[in-house]
Subunit: 207 residues, 2 copies
DNA sequence: ATAATTTGCTAACGAACGTTAGCTTGTTTA
DNA sequence: TAAACAAGCTAACGTTCGTTAGCAAATTAT
């Protein structure tokens, strides 16, 4: 049913011609899952976005959950790569936290839809992927916790429960995908800088 | 199928005996929607939680969406009541923001499951409820924006995009439901105080 | 030129979905 | 005591769901 396929989708498909069909499929799925949520998105919705029949999707994928799983773990790896570069640098806790916040922000902004799916839809993964995902998430948070604990030990930061502080900071960062507008006033770097400024000021000891 | 009903549910039903059957139904739905998400929760799941048949639910409700709608708008009203008390007080912007943050925090902590549904599942509302909900949400945010703009005009706060600041602060608050543990170290009031301290320090001018 | 791969189709499956109709039973109200 | 209501049941409806089987055409690789 070609008439149901929007011009926008055609344009995108042409622009991103280098993408394999499977990649195009996962891109369309990412946008669909972001808009409607995973559970409310049907394979027929997805097929319609691509201008094909639902059954044809299965030439490219094994199951609906496989798509979700690919999106979630690809994003998880992106976040890890970003923080791994920072962890090894020999700088103050404040500087490390600033860079980590900016890096996290950049990953979200570069992948707005995929981040949204990553953040909200992971719970629809089945076992054992679900536990694997949760463990990665915990690892990632622990890297932030270590930075803040270092800052508290250094007297750079106020005495605070580090886990509480991390959850609070990450939750502000993880809201970006809901309001970020590529045509808005703030550039991705400015957003990261403002957020790290607010977060770190919130932690720093006041004289 | 009584064997499928957990002891926990029976206990809860006994403790909250004063609740009408419809209220019990909405309570069970709130927990279910929080755990699995609205779209992934079936009426048969819900019926099973109450130990009755799915068709029996319709003696109490008109539709699945009606349950969601009730949860969302009841919570919206709770948030409004909390902030309306603060708006009219004649205190500094910092003090107003502190009280607003603490009030918001209290509402979430007193209704952890309902807050979770309110924050994540509202998008499954149909029109015209959906637009009505979005408008209320915008109104609520605008009350926070006004407080911060007042603080910027007063030189209490740094010069910052007020909407950006509000979205950042609210997103940290709106994450509480994911980690709050009634048996944890921090009391509801302490959580509110810590969060307002972090948020307001992040906004205040540093000398 | 031929074989293999990619990409799609139609038809259909069994299961699960939200919901309705019509009925029974126990409790409360007039 | 009779009427009204609350709360549940069984049976079933039409629809949508994710997915499979088997086949056809086009493209790519050998």
């Amino acid at each position: 049913m070609l008439t149901n396929v929007s011009l926008f989708n055609f344009e995108r498909m042409i622009i991103e011609k280098k993408l394999s069909r499977k990649e195009q499929l996962e891109l369309a799925a990412t946008e669909l899952f972001k808009e409607k949520g995973y559970a409310a998105s049907s394979m027929r919705d997805l097929a319609n976005k691509l201008g094909i029949e639902a059954a044809s999707l299965y030439s490219h994928i094994k199951s609906k959950e496989e798509i979700l799983s690919n999106i979630c773990f690809r994003m998880a790896n992106e976040f890890f790569e970003a923080i791994n570069k920072i962890e090894i640098e020999n700088i103050s806790a404040s500087a490390k936290l600033e860079r980590a916040i900016i890096a996290h922000t950049q990953v979200i902004i570069k992948n707005v839809s995929a981040s949204s799916v990553f953040l909200h839809e992971w719970r629809h993964l089945n076992q054992p992927k679900l536990d694997e995902f949760i463990a990665m998430r915990e690892d990632y948070q622990n890297k932030f916790i270590s930075i803040i604990e270092e800052g508290i030990a250094n007297d750079e930061f106020i005495s605070i429960d580090a886990k509480f502080a991390v959850l609070t900071i990450l939750s502000s960062l993880n809201w970006i995908h809901n309001w970020y507008d590529p045509n808005g006033k703030m550039s991705p770097l400015e957003i990261g800088q403002q957020l790290s400024r607010m977060s770190i000021n919130g932690l720093k000891i006041r004289f």
